[in-house]
């Protein structure tokens, strides 16, 4: 039963030990030891557990690991390339865009996906993209500013 599923996470293949129906979130956290995706609701309603599957932001708290197939999974940790934070991650630091920071995983994953598809989103497009990501601390406006800053960092205007 187990040992049959191989998934690709942050560029590396992993043979899954869990049962095929196990939600991806628990495989990422407990087998691979990642901390980026968080358990928030287990009901696909808050966005804390988001990962990128291909270039799409996906909720991982329900998605059975057996359904991933050959798609490439990227987590918050996987956005870091050769020790360099992704521009979206840098933007969140520069804007100090967290309070408790528990939801920040989903915010960064959603933003990275948004800016790939739409490098210059309007305020309304940013809000709509992030509407599925809940934040209880009220950091929304800082997160919006971080998205804008990431847009500049990515387009190279303010980047290093």
């Amino acid at each position: 039963m187990s040992g049959e599923i191989v998934i690709t996470v942050n560029g590396k293949p992993y043979t899954v030990q869990s049962a095929p129906g196990t939600p991806l979130l628990y495989v990422l956290r407990n087998e691979i030891g990642l901390n980026g995706p968080h358990f928030g609701c287990g009901g696909e309603k808050c966005g804390a557990c988001m990962v990128l599957i291909g270039a799409e932001p996906k909720l991982s708290c329900h998605l059975p690991v057996s359904e991933i197939g050959h798609a490439r999974i990227t987590t918050l940790e996987g956005l870091i390339e050769e020790g360099e934070l992704h521009p979206v991650q840098r933007a969140f630091i520069e804007e100090q865009a967290t309070q408790c920071g528990y939801c920040v995983n989903g915010m960064i994953i959603t933003t990275a996906a948004l800016l790939w598809k739409n490098p210059h989103p309007t305020d309304e497009q940013i809000r709509t993209a992030l509407d599925g990501n809940l934040c209880r601390c009220g950091t929304h406006l800082r997160i919006m500013r971080a998205v804008k800053r990431a847009e500049i960092l990515i387009s190279g205007k303010g980047g290093d």
């Binding site: 901390n35 987590t75 100090q96 920071g101 528990y102 009220g138």
Partner: protein, 725 residues
Amino acid sequence: MANQGRQTKPESMRRKGHRGSGRREAFWGQLTNWLDDWLEINSDGTVTAFSGKVELGTGVRTALAQIVAEELDVSIERVKMVMGDTQRTPDEGYTAGSMTINSSGTALRNAGSQARRILFELAARRLASNLDQLNVQDGVISVIQDPQRKVSYAELMGGKAFNIEVAENIPVKDSQTYKVVGTSTPREDIPRKVAGQSAFIQDFRVPGMLHARLVRPPSVGAELVSLDDSSLAGLPGVVKVVQRNNFIGVVTEREEQAILAAQTLKVEWRERPTLPPMQELYTTLRSRRTEDNFLIDQGDFDAAWKNASRQLQATYYQPYHAHASIGPSCAVADVKGDQIIVWASTPGPYPLSGTLAKLLDVPPENVHLIHVEGAGSYGQNGSDDAAADAVILSQAVGRPVRLQWSRQDEFVWEPKAPAMVMEVRGGLDLQGNVVAWDYQVWSPSHVARAHSPEQLVAGQLLSGQPSTQFGFSFGAERNAPTNYSFTNQRVTVHYIADSPLRASSFRSLGGAENTFANESFMDELAADAGMDAVEFRLRYLPDERAREVIKSAASKAGWEARPSPQGKSNRLAEGRGIAFAWYENDQAIVASVAHVQVDTFSGNVRVKRIVVAHDCGLIINPDGLRNQIEGNTIQSLSRALKEEVLFDEWRIKSVDWESYPILTFSEVPEVEIFLINRPKQPALGAGEPSTTTTAAAVANAIFDATGARLRQIPFTPERVKAALS
């Protein structure tokens, strides 16, 4: 483990110091003046600062490090904070009431000053120089005239104990000379969190750890009828089903196995109705037995009320609110015989360790509680309860257990912010002056911290006695009195002995609800007197700091002086409202102006902009402060517009984000913040004050836009429509 190093501390220090001591009762802990309890100079050039307070997501770890760096003259990178550990830090009770900067901050500042003095004296001897010829830069003391003659803190004191008390009234630096305090030092935790490093209790792991989920009763007061272990036959990884009276949890090898086992376990409960029908909540609160506190009785209200030319009266309603932490509570416990280690995101490591000791019947010093940050809690969420659950489960299996609450566990079992009823009467004379003011509030206690096992869910399930009795009452008096100079006034708090739903601290305790009522009613009086709301408030505020806060908020918001309502009748009606609060009547001062647009057909309220002016004395970290004010404003707006814990006579019905929705990105307004820095005034806490003014500012803006007065939170479209008709 890193914390074992503390055991080498000389016996004399440990006796004098207060770390790890057995008494764990006091709300604010036990004061310690022992310098080594607060600071250590390490031989690697770093400084370790100890605080019994904990990081609840507000950035106090960074703010405290700034204070230490400033007073000790070291760069902030050298300061390592150790917080909330019963074997390493002082006992500072609970992290609550925006008190961390006041209390821990003051203690660390004094300790820093004392340590710096001692280091200078040692350096003077070592360098054969006079004190006044010495200078310090980033922990290196040198002779001003001959900078090559120098010695570092580490060389002087590295790894050694000061062995001294912090002198009383020790002089500290003049705030005018501050270089670190008052700057927007970036938070040390954010780089870790955005990179996905282990940062939360939910990320905490120990070797050999098992996983657990709870099987809670469907309602408070339900009793276990039967449990069928055999329903888990064939499920993989089940280590144990732990059942003690009404407490049930499943412990498994892997996390997903615990989820499946908890869902699968066949359990039968006997439920009974223990709650009032929701539509009778407020009449229930008004009819229950109360203990009355007469806070203010000044002048002669009755006579003034009788003689007033206008008599106004209004009642305001606050439902139960959930803390609704974005990450459900979690804890890891390792119980080996009578030795217990618990990692938890509790706001009160020492008090909780004492309670857990009672729960397991071991001496308090056997419980080593280590705080690990959780998701934002804003008061008391389920974190203390989860710690108790984890301890019971670990004890049952004799191995370390990680317990994760489900979303539903958190919504149903976390203690709620209490429901309240506020009734205000005000009399005006012919000139529109307030001649009589009577404020009464009915509320359960806002504080029911876990001082005894019966106050923890686990304790109640083990004993079979659901307890909503508090034994003492606190918090509903917060901001029940205003700071307005009314001649004839009464303020009374009616404490309800038993809360229908379990309740405990939520950001500002009663401060937000009382301010909602007080500031809405001030607006009602101003409107009745035909006066501008800003001018009306200023009449009763002689204090210059308070006046400046109100005037600043109004001017930044582009306030046009005129009476409310604005008197136009468009479908989309626009209006603005102001609210003011002096937190706890002597802490930070806040005023908020809300701009709203009300769809008078649908009743939908869109808040477009909120302007906040804020004076919390000396500002420690302006950017951190802005972050707190922005967060307070948005969270309290969410509470005002959307939030209400639903229940029927049997069960709590708010169990997920659909039945307890919070504000989303599309609904968040612009927030503009105006900070007033008072470098010569004490630094006051900012975690709560700006949570108090939002609801009234929005209600007043809705009134200004439409003439409809919202007196019940939340301001849902249905309530707005009802108020309009």
